[in-house]
Amino acid sequence: MKYIYLVVIFISGILLASDVKPINNQLALKECGSCHFAYQPGLLPKRSWKKIISNLGNHFGTDASLDKKDEQMLLSYFIKNSSDNSNQYLSRVITRYTRADKTPMRITTGVVFRRAHDELRRSTFLRKSVGNPGNCIACHRTAKRGLYNEDYVRIPR
């Protein structure tokens, strides 16, 4: 009987494990999430986050500036949980496949993202219900929980 409990715990552990650690920081959820899906820090290496967060005044063409204190707090959270500081599955894959001499500025242009989405047409990403490739949550309905497994994908029309 004990054995069955262990098996159940083991299996549910596998099913519930996230691919990247979900965001557990109110500042990050608020500041990143007010304009776009709040990407988990574990989706890029720390050198990328340093570059992105130190240039929020010109964030992909938009002013996303914060006061210095919030910027520092955000940066330390993102560094602490960056892909190269995380042991979760997807973070490890991203760290391994990102060239050490490159500092990617977008999750969607990385090798891992492109390989994982190579069966999709560009027009699918651009349809109205999705908008752009960076809108993870449009198809990955469990993205907030850090679950990007294909089983949870539903592409809207």
Partner: protein, 139 residues
């Protein structure tokens, strides 16, 4: 008689408050007024009408394209808007539809700084900021 006038006063107080700012915000508005008076000696008060012009008029923004505040926030501030760059929905700007709006000075300053930059490629003047806040608050 006494009771009646109290009730009337009470109702007026609620109505006045509904269109006013919270104490923290009122203090910020007063700061803007002081600045406005310094820059323009005949300044009387901010104007929601001027604020509307600032809000709906299009300008060449930070990205080099025509944009206005209403590009993302729409012209009905009680409705949900949409970020034109990311597609993410934006909760209503009107404090009547979304009580969190115009409630925290830190957030208000942050968004005025960012969004004037995105739409006007510069910071707003004290008069412009006050006008826009009056406009949003009136909707």
């Amino acid at each position: 008689m006494m009771k009646k006038s109290f009730i009337v006063l009470f109702v007026f107080a609620i109505l006045a408050n509904a269109n006013g700012f919270n104490p923290q915000m009122q203090q910020y508005i007063n700061q803007l007024k002081t600045q406005a008076q310094k820059s323009k000696s005949n300044f009387v008060d901010f104007s929601a009408k001027r604020g509307e012009q600032i809000f709906v008029s299009e300008h060449i923004g930070k990205r080099g394209k025509n944009i206005s505040c209403s590009s993302c926030h729409s012209t009905n501030l009680r409705q949900i808007g949409k970020n034109v760059h990311t597609g993410k929905s934006i909760k209503p700007l009107s404090p009547l539809a979304n009580a969190k709006r115009l409630s925290r000075v830190k957030d208000v300053k942050k968004w005025l700084r960012r969004n004037f930059n995105d739409v006007y490629k510069r910071q707003g003047t004290a008069i412009e900021k006050g006008d826009v806040l009056y406009y949003i608050n009136s909707k």
